[in-house]
Symmetry: D3
Subunit: 249 residues, 6 copies
């Protein structure tokens, strides 16, 4: 059940049976020579929609711009500063919390979001924790889950792209987007080097110096829509389980 395709009465009815919501969160940032700038948001959205379908979960609006300051050396990348993203998460949770949503499952497509979104949860909790006259606190729980850390995502990465997955512009994520938007798949041939270098980074200039075509440790030339389907089919049930456990906790 997708929030943006529902009426408010349908949401009200949903809240009679569940307090949970899945919120896809991604990023708008370069993903190497053949990866889409929307990769992280697309992946989050695809997984969230499937989880919503399988678990009868409400799926909220996609946070499609995340914390991606390090990618700003590449055209088209967009970032929210951490302080802005914290405010966004806080307002979204406060809005939905007012209606009775109380279990926020952020389904994440971008590693760069994790620290900031986790800090945002603390910012939300801190408002309750700092109130002396609120002995019972908020009854509100937030979590962030990265789809690529599902066991089958790791297994398939090894099987399909052994040793060439890397950590940015990975063949796994590019495959998922090609499955979702086959018409947007790019043919750029072999990349040089075939597998990109690994390493850390600081700001955008530093990142670009170290990773000239944007990839980290990956060979996304291996990506195909078919692999994407395989990954989605395998990972969704595990995310459904994670969501159900979260609701039950």
């Amino acid at each position: 059940m997708q929030l943006h395709l529902s009426t408010w009465q349908e949401v009200e009815a949903y809240l009679q049976r569940s307090r949970g919501i899945v919120i896809p969160i991604g990023s708008t940032e370069q993903h190497g020579p053949n990866g889409l700038i929307g990769t992280d948001a697309i992946c989050a959205e695809v997984f969230a929609r499937e989880v919503g379908r399988a678990a009868d979960a409400m799926v909220g609006p996609t946070v499609n711009v995340g914390m991606a300051q390090h990618h700003l050396g590449f055209a088209g990348s967009v970032t929210l500063r951490p302080s802005t993203l914290i405010a966004v998460i806080r307002d979204m949770v406060a809005s939905l919390g007012r209606h009775g949503f109380a279990r926020f499952f952020f389904l994440n497509g971008h590693g760069g979001n994790v620290a900031t979104v986790t800090a945002a949860f603390s910012e939300i909790y801190a408002e309750a924790s700092l109130q002396a006259g609120l002995p019972n606190g908020l009854d509100l729980r937030c979590t962030i889950r990265n789809w690529w850390e599902a066991p089958s995502a790791k297994r398939l990465s090894r099987e399909l792209f052994a040793g060439e997955e890397g950590s940015h512009a990975t063949p796994s994520e590019v495959s998922v987007t090609y499955f979702a938007y086959p018409e947007a798949a790019k043919s750029v041939g072999e990349m040089t080097p075939r597998v990109a270098p690994f390493g850390g980074f600081t700001d955008a200039a530093d990142y670009r110096r170290r990773f000239p075509d944007g990839r980290i440790g990956s060979n996304p030339a291996l990506a195909t829509a078919a692999h994407g389907k395989t990954i989605v089919d395998a990972v969704v049930p595990e995310l459904v389980d994670a969501y159900r456990s979260f609701l039950a906790a």
Copy 2:
């Protein structure tokens, strides 16, 4: 050309021929008994995609949560506070401005965004204006355009829904979303009263008291996907003209 379906190299190539970008901005908020919560974001996205296609314009990520505090009395509505939305717009424009984008055409689907987005533009300009050592300022220009104010949108509203358009949960906007997502069209029959009351409002509680089913002045039971298509077909060329004039200004 859609940013999220492009690679950074494709964006770089685009920037050789244009500095313009269309950014759809909507809202996630109740739209009465048969309107989708995503109505404003969906409309903005539909129009932006078509303008992008017709004008070879880059289309950026949809701002799908806007300033909708007054709708929070209805389940599923989400707001950013104005101060948060200002920060979001500022970060997006700063990110894209770094790459060379310089003409930001926010294609808007929600009246409640106008004041805040306009204030955000001033916040952006003020950073340049307050710098003594910056005689030439920013070469950066932002505008916000409401699709429903296009001449043909107004004309079609009169022709198709004469007197029953209203100002929230209008048959025009609901029609556009039914055209975009026919599978999500709702059948709720006649509404009572057929045409909702008009009026002003302040916060969420006040809004709900005045407009118990969420509509303002409208009869969205008149909405159909066919009317949506008519509206989109008529309005897109006018928005294309507006975008081209904006680039040329």
Copy 3:
């Protein structure tokens, strides 16, 4: 009744009979070759004082610095950034709201304030709207009214300055300030061009490039104190009506 000339006991007595307050809001910014930098604040103050007198309304402190980033290319112009002005409005409304004021009529002298002040109202309302446990919301209502949009202001502009009113440093507003401060009236003779160009603008450098002497579309050489008196006499009763309607809404 002017707040700054009253004692707290007089205010307490006023609150027994009314919850309304008129707050003049203007700007401190260039107004062309013969317009005063305080034009917008002076106009707002003059109209507010007269409305206060005629309607037995409390008149609060003048917000004399507004959102004027685009005028910073001209010496003496001062701006608050939108985010600052939002904080100012919020604190003023919260302070006065604590005493029982509940109808805030911002009488505005500067077009550049409208978006930001409207966003400030939403920021105030949003605090109530985001609280789940506040079913009845705030009983607090804010509005902003531009004196130059009163019907007789428009009519007199046509009659007295036909075609040469423009939109910044207008003969109407300059006349009102000459009426209020005849000793400060400037004699600068004819301007070149007689009528300034029209157009849009972004930041301060852009504004100055387009409007070299600060005027937009106007010929303020037509301004006289006598015209100012005519305008004030005609407009005040309409603003009184607007204030009374606002209280009654």
Copy 4:
């Protein structure tokens, strides 16, 4: 020379001969049974205007709402939170600094402003201090001066109101406002107790508990317009000297 009564060309001419500006800063807050709510802003404005006249100094817009949280227990009092007032001062100084003003003399009418305005100056300086690549810093200097600390203000207080000056709603400040606005002088007779209690305070509720009619340590029944004139005449030359020393420092 008053900024709000000048044109931008006149300001430009002024800046050829001076970089100084006097900015009156006061407050909008209760001043006991016979003191005006605008007392602190009125005093600051009166002294600033006279200093401006005597020293050929530019006088900027009055900051008429200050930091007065402790007075909010009395109707009509208005506060900016410290964080808001810091932003206001910063924006005003940045705006005027852009034009070439570089010596900011805040002429203060309210003790409660001192800490926050001083913190605002540090906030402004810190922006320069934190920039590694700015070896010469800002050439910008701010000061805040309390008119009641001028030697003759202290002397006259002893002579005219010996022992009954107090520290809030003092006969000195009330006298100055009666001199400025004789028509607003209040006749409320003797007060009980004649001299108000002294002491510290925290928030608004605490303040009201300790000082039930708003005065601290004072007997403002002694205030007269004539005393106000005596004070203004004596203090202005000392403030002029202070301003000139500040410019020369």
Copy 5:
């Protein structure tokens, strides 16, 4: 009793007998040729610990970085901007207030903190003052006390360092740190000039231009650990009295 060396159960027990807490606040900034960068934090910590011991007072965590923007021209100096320090103080007081602490005695080692910390107190109080529905306010009281203003600190300064105390990098404060950390005492011999110049300052560049070795008006070559002990022994009882009076107020 030191908070950081206590368990939460010990703190709970303490709160049965007292609501007071001493919070040392200093700075991390240059202190001239022989003064330690931690001078102000060390002094605050030494005095707070002794007051805690003598008065059975809880001693909270040292705020060791304060508002020191003007010292940033000298290596090793660190500042919080005033807006940041206000947030820090507010969060600390809110945290401790939740547990029942209600009398906050900030024992200060750095003059540059006073304005900002005082503004922070107002920011805290303002939250209560701005709430209409909070008739009794906070029962929470904050104060800031500078150890060097204790009567015996002034007396000893005159006796031990007559005329060469100055106002930054003073022999008194350097002595206290040498007493606390004798192993860190520096031998740099005579300074040139023996007594540093006096004067005001703005930002870091201005400060360094005026005070090339960092001292203001002082001759810290006179500092010894023995003098430090004399000062601590004399001042602590006075601070204990001040703390007890504060609790009793």
Copy 6:
């Protein structure tokens, strides 16, 4: 070399040979029945001091209050909200960066800090990344290292406290503080249950409900000063290696 015990000239000399700085960061929060409230700050400080000694590294001021909102249900716990802690880190890094420090090694004693401090680094980098005219970015690098994740810390935990380490109020961290402050070691005997429960948490009320005496998964009754010494001796060389690698990266 400790910053707070150095003069600015000594810091200047240090900067000739190194751009690195170790900044201890901890927390002020409950640590169960026998753990000190300052545990995390004490541990960070102890390890940082030893690393500083062994690696000739500058050791900056301890951040002794961190992000600990979840502990506010226990007396004495203090938190900074994430947004405040981000501002603190940013100001500290900006201050030290101005002097030439460029490698910031935050030696962390509190798991709850990691997300927020990581977000703070992104906030710092983002300022550079968002500037179009800064092709080379900042040459500034930050990292956060948790001492308990050093290989020997993990090994010793297994050897000394097998199975009873847990994740909050662990015998390892309590041992380190007892080694540092043997006089503050607490004797509270066996705890009930001997090993505390494991689990997640949200805000302070939730935490206290789940972990009634504050521990998570641990049996800190096993802590001794001798174990603390063993841990410090083993871990410091590994942290020195980590610091040196960081400088060399």
